[in-house]
């Protein structure tokens, strides 16, 4: 059932469902807050003054539109379709995360919230949140797994410079999942003044739809830029997937364009055949966590398993509910890349294109050669370069046995 009828794709429904996925599975204390947020978002998103304000900040503060760049040497290396990079790593703060943070912070201020909380894995969402909080003078508390604090120390320092309080989370294995639990515990405790700025297109409704909408600027620009440069749509758009926000932002404006393949690349960690990966769609099954029903890494009893990836930004046992739906209906394809492959392509891209990618898009880079080959010469594939690799150089050096 691959058929998406043009102008008919209107997911999610009023209850935040994408087919069986999504929803609002939160503690009762949070339900009024989640409903209030939905109302506020519905009232705001169509408000031209809100969009104008957001567009202005995206242009002059974030640096949008990001370029669409033809990666000629990588294209030649792989020998297939033209490989284009959507350069979201050039955004202020070095990743796509700021697109969403800018939208949500403007909404939070319209709602009169004074205290912002966020979870972060690689630290990119934490940095982006701390950045917009600094810009607008709001208190910022970021929950970050203790293991991630360790492996992403430059981002921890950045957040502190920006005035955020970074709280290391030691429960569980100390990664993104545990940081999200702790952020939810904070929110349930500070219901009156706190806005939870979720960083990925997951969580209770309206977050999956709202984060997607704010990230869809990626896909809208890509569409317009490809039309301008090539006079056509791309044949495939490709993005790495952890929670899936950069991918859904790229995919969403193309969902009704049946000729455009949507390809997400999950983190296969040490391999999909073992337990050490973060590929919820390919190695998990549907369940409920963190406010939504979606594909999860879980055991037979429904206990959530810890994901593993070399990339702290992909290391999450769930996935945004819209990806779960797009997978089930066959509209998007999902592949995976291992830690080793990501490291290899991190280096290849650095050497061939003079662009040091983050470890997250390095997973997409690991699959781009075969996708370019499938599409064939003369075709066009767009890879979302969702983050730059500065934050990862210490981790990569360690894996390569280099002492800095």
């Amino acid at each position: 059932m691959n058929a998406i009828i043009p102008n008919q794709y209107a997911m999610p429904d009023a209850d935040g469902r994408f087919g069986p996925y999504g929803g609002r599975f939160v503690a009762e204390t949070l339900m009024p807050l989640v409903l209030e947020l939905n109302q506020a978002y519905e009232a705001t998103k169509g408000d031209p003054s809100f969009q104008a304000e957001l567009d202005d900040f995206l242009t002059h503060y974030v640096g949008r539109p990001s370029p669409l760049y033809l990666a000629e040497r990588l294209t030649a290396h792989h020998g297939g379709a033209n490989i284009w990079f959507k350069r979201d790593e050039l955004n202020h703060t070095g990743a796509h995360k700021i697109n969403n943070c800018m939208g949500q912070i403007l909404l939070a201020m319209r709602m009169g919230k004074k205290r912002i909380i966020a979870e972060t894995g690689a630290g990119q969402h934490g940095v982006a949140t701390a950045t917009v909080c600094a810009r607008f003078g709001l208190q910022c508390v970021v929950y970050m797994g203790a293991a991630d604090v360790e492996r992403q120390s430059p981002n921890v320092f950045r957040m502190k410079l920006l005035g955020a309080e970074v709280i290391p989370v030691t429960s569980g294995r100390g990664t993104l999942k545990d940081a999200m639990n702790e952020a939810l515990r904070d929110w349930v405790t500070n219901v009156a003044d706190t806005y939870y700025l979720i960083g990925t297109a997951a969580g209770p409704h309206p977050y999956p739809a709202m984060v997607r909408d704010f990230q869809s600027v990626i896909g809208r620009e890509t569409k317009a830029q490809m039309q301008a440069r090539r006079g056509k749509l791309p044949d495939a758009v490709v993005a790495a997937i952890g929670g899936g926000s950069n991918a859904i932002g790229l995919f969403h404006p193309f969902i009704e364009d049946a000729g455009v393949r949507l390809i997400g690349v999950e983190a296969a960690g040490r391999g999909l055949e073992g337990p050490d990966h973060a590929a919820s769609l390919q190695g998990g099954r549907p369940g409920v966590l963190h406010g939504n029903r979606t594909y999860l890494l879980q055991d037979e009893d429904g206990q959530i398993l810890e994901g593993h990836s070399i990339s702290a930004g992909l290391d999450y046992p769930g996935i945004g509910p819209e990806h779960a739906w797009l997978k089930d209906i066959g509209r998007a394809e999902y592949r995976a890349a291992t830690d080793v492959e990501a490291l290899e392509h991190f280096q290849l891209c650095s050497k061939l294109e003079g662009i040091i990618p983050a470890l997250e898009p390095s997973h997409a880079l690991a699959r781009i050669g075969e996708i370019a080959a499938e599409v064939g010469q003369g075709g066009d594939v767009v890879l979302n370069m969702c983050g730059r690799g500065d934050k990862d150089i210490f981790a990569v050096a360690k894996h390569l046995g280099v002492e800095l």
């Binding site: 807050l33 405790t189 009893d301």
Partner: protein
Amino acid sequence: MTTSRIDARFAALKAEGRAGFVAYVMAGDPSRDEALEILRGLPAAGADIIELGFPFSDPMAEGPPIQRAALRGLKAGLTLKGTLELARAFRDGDADTPLILMGYLNPIESYGYDAFAADAAAAGVDGVIVVDCPPEEADPLTDALDANRLSLIRLATPTSDDARLEVVARRTSGFVYYVSVAGVTGVKEAQSASVAPAVERVRRASGLPVAVGFGVKTPERAAEIARVSDAVVAGSVLVDEVAAALEAGEPAAPCVLAKVRGLAEAVRGARVPETV
């Protein structure tokens, strides 16, 4: 859906003119056998109703005490299936004490709603509290529970206004659990003055008895809540007794049951029948 054991127990409490004491313990904490020993000792120690937590890896509404208890339960290998076996073992020796399972939705999703409801009913469970399953998401689970005559017990909170209470009260039975503070379990203590009017509102909206929990740690506090509610719930303070016993190298059951006795006595002595 009415559930005879829960309704009978609240009717008896009303006749006695006192509030009930609800003891929350975690399945498998610190081991399957010791958890069963605790469960079997609870009614004699003064628990009128038992809430049996089933462990979940990501208990996002719990404070540190119950988070740690869940980890101990998981470490002891207690799955939802194991929790149901524990419930059945308890029920074999106690025909009257209402037994409520409390936890998170994903283990139930994984088990399957219908299979879970049927097996829980067969194990002698009376009701279920699912923290992350609000009314908007609860219909399929409620259908399965109804078909097996199990109560779905809902939570009301300080953030529930009157309109929300109407939603909360829909398709619920047995009693309503009033979470007296906005927060996770076992951390903050509610202002006593705010509890009484809230309990009244919840009673009016639901027509059901109201149990009050979160932050009940001392007999004095339990007595205060008992004066204005139909039942008092204590959990974190009990699972902390398990942790303390483990640390001291002592058996857990006597420590937990001694704590239950103190709290239950305070609840029983809180109200003079003619004043209510």
